[in-house]
Symmetry: C3
Subunit: 363 residues, 3 copies
């Protein structure tokens, strides 16, 4: 019975024993200065850089975001689909949102047509290939230049050469598109279109929700109906003029409008949740993403078509209007980091800092 008690006492004694290394004090000005200086550098680094500047005491969370956009504006062109229209009046055409935003909604992006090549009322048939087409083998002198069944830019060659155009006859949607290099935008005035952008963000870890239409303005319909974003004068208005966006991206609208471009619409949220959540505000910036100097497929364009069937007597003919749309593709990039005090990153960063301090002693 005596022994366990003694063991116990011994164990308890050991448990509350405190070990400390025997320290030798060395007084040396030279070593001392170096030592303190290196210590100072490391402490400054840990406190100044890691903890204060990089906010190493905060747990961070990435943003979850949703963006919707709505473009407004109309333009008038003297562009017409009807080749028989003669009077200037008949050539006028108004373009509204449904005409120039294609497709009508996209996830995280939107497109505004600025220039257009329209090939109205095409139908399946045989017709000469487009001469302006840069494709090799469009031109011909005899049918031997047009091997039957071989593929051309817009269709499949039939084996004959069209004397009138000196291009191969092809089976295609006829008449084929005249693919000319555009010189000036058909839709003039698209820089005055405005876009309402709604961005909702959410930090799942902190359960914090923010949106770019600030609470102070959210109830103010007349302000939101009439305001216009300006980087300094009105930095929180959610309505942007396209021309302003392009100017802020350091680009020239009338140049871009000819062949299109891809523009990054960046929304940044940097949220220090140790402060008031009200100080967590969106910051907008814009930059051109595609390369202005591309030698192939410069700018941004794509083709789409509207289809219908003409019923004449017993015959029905499927027709389409082909549209080659040049324009500006806006892609949203939403960045956001939220930070909030948390013991875990603080301990990790302190720990690593202390280990560095230990390193000094070894040296």
């Amino acid at each position: 019975m005596v022994r366990p008690a003694r063991l116990m006492r011994s164990a308890v004694g050991r448990f509350f024993e405190y070990d400390t290394p025997k320290i030798v004090h060395i007084q040396s000005l030279h070593i001392g200065i170096t030592y303190r200086f290196v210590q100072l550098v490391i402490i400054s680094y840990v406190i100044g850089w890691v903890l204060v500047y990089k906010k190493g005491y905060q747990e961070t969370d990435n943003v979850e975001s949703s963006v919707t956009s709505k473009v407004k504006g109309v333009v008038l062109t003297n562009f017409t689909l009807d080749p028989n229209a003669t009077a200037d009046e008949e050539k006028l055409r108004v373009w509204d949102t449904a005409d120039y935003v294609i497709p009508p909604q996209e996830n995280g992006a939107f497109f505004v047509t600025t220039n257009i090549i329209m090939s109205p009322n095409q139908e399946q048939g045989i017709c000469p290939e487009d001469y302006s087409s840069r494709q090799l083998g469009a031109s011909c002198s005899t049918g031997f230049d047009c091997p039957s069944g071989s593929k051309s830019a817009n269709g499949v060659r039939t084996g004959t050469c069209n004397n009138a155009t000196s291009t191969c006859d092809i089976r295609a949607w006829c008449p084929v598109e005249k693919d000319v290099e555009p010189q000036s935008p058909v839709l003039q005035g698209t820089e005055d279109f405005t876009v309402l952008v709604k961005n909702q963000i959410f930090f799942p870890k902190f359960r914090v929700r923010r949106r770019n239409i600030l609470d102070g303005f959210a109830k103010n319909a007349s302000y939101l109906d009439s305001c216009l974003y300006h980087p300094s004068a009105d930095p929180f208005c959610p309505i942007f003029r396209l021309g302003d966006i392009i100017a802020l991206a350091q680009e020239n609208y009338s140049t871009i409008a000819v062949k299109g471009a891809v523009i990054g619409f960046v929304i940044e949220w940097e949220c220090n949740l140790d402060l008031s959540v009200e100080s967590c505000l969106p910051k907008y910036s814009f930059r051109r993403i595609d390369n202005a100097d591309d030698v192939i497929a410069k700018g941004w364009n794509f083709r789409y078509a509207n289809y219908w069937t003409d019923t004449v007597g017993r015959q029905s003919v499927q027709r389409r209007t082909l549209i080659k749309a040049y324009g500006i593709r806006f892609v949203f990039y939403v960045y956001g980091v939220a930070g909030k005090f948390n013991i875990v990153p603080l301990a990790t960063n302190l720990g690593a800092g202390l280990a560095l301090l230990g390193l000094v002693r070894l040296l």
Copy 2:
């Protein structure tokens, strides 16, 4: 020859020398208790929080995800495009997937129309601006109120005031859309539509692949054809009723259906790959993303149009049917983190923990 050997022996001796600090044992109950307590706290923190709760011994990887969706269902409306239809029978119209899912596919999202304002058979021309349009300057008393060339909501003013409507005449797609605030959804019964969601995920670092159609069900076509997701009764069925989704997002379907909404369709994968990969299962949740209290552009709607050309004799007229579609935009958010034992994070976390323990001794 003697010297190098001696040096060598000396070097070898040094190499296998082990340095240990001379330790002073201090027996003090007070310091001992404090010391052990702080040690305990740090060890508990490192082991309990960092290693066990936060799984600090695991290497993690983020998910790569692909989602496709397919909506099913039909509704019948007594809504018609033909203004000459008189019999009730003629006004009936069936809407299927191709009619209400616009655009037919989107990357990471899908849209279901719940309400609609249709402006059939518009053509370019001159007609009075819509009176109900909330835009300023729609109404007029004389032509002076309608400066020629100025822009209205739906077109460009011609300079004359239409006496019949007391609004400016505009050049536009005519007749212009009657933009009334919708009171009830035109498409009744959309809450019974179902959507099949297929989500494939991949953790590149671990080469692990999972999908939301679990292997146990994947071969069971009759189960997959008839099941319906329920958070507790059937949490792994990949088919969701729209009404259930909205209810789980704590929203009222009939309210949302009027003006539309943006709903987050969240799929979460938390995978501990140290356990069986079979325990890596999807968890669904839903939440409304847009703000229900917005004063401008509340809910979610957009305009699109179908185009065709009417050929009458030698004249061809381009026409369109403009559709303002209100509806629910579902946006997928797929989150996933996989963890697997790895020596690197274990070492890093242990190292930081030990450094903290060293801190205690200094104090």
Copy 3:
């Protein structure tokens, strides 16, 4: 006056004092070997794995990416919309980009139709349900099998049974689609289509911009017009043949073309910015994402429609052509990490390593 001076001197003395633990040298071959071995392991781990292999001395940044794509190619089918076409010639039809890329642009993805079920010139009316429809309750013997107002796959039942087809009469877009399991792709030769992919990336932290069209090639229009991606022969050509992509994804094109698939188009950028930025190059890989063994909704398809209005006399009838498109959905995944020397991660990793070394001494 003496005292502060002495205190001062004492404090200054203390400040430049250097403490070092008294060290005991223990000479033991056994402990020495173990000690040095463990030290070696840890040092190798810290230097070899953390610093060299994992580049722990680098600050990293994630990529911001934008991808646009442009598909080229035409195919000829002997597929026609006109049921009255009799001559083989009349049945020929050419398909171009606007016909088979639906929708014309998507954010981070594109779709190429490979197979099609077309239901031309549908209008609202009453017609028998499709018999081949796998839906339960399509077939009937009397009107009692077709409860009026109940929903069928393509429409709403009227309460009568159509004797000719033994299926319920439904109110729907008529005639309804004949939903047969496709056996071979209608569009033959889509594997020869090519796609030009433009990928611009940006590392915001380092302000570094790269694109997949390398500077060396960017000015060389003739190379870019004629090159074709090959994993070893031409790994930086931005033009890809669809058939090659599918082959590199280890799939069979003619199998996939029947019912469609989802293919991941992976672009990886691993950039060590301590080296020349020119060595930061894209790496392409491809993999099938959807499950080839799915029992429901196998592959990838969706329905869309083209709408128009037929005006006959005073009556206008809305019609549509319904298209069920099977095809390959390419989804872009752009990964990229850039690393650059930075003192912060180096210090953190060194700190954690040193702490581990300290652990050895304790043991």
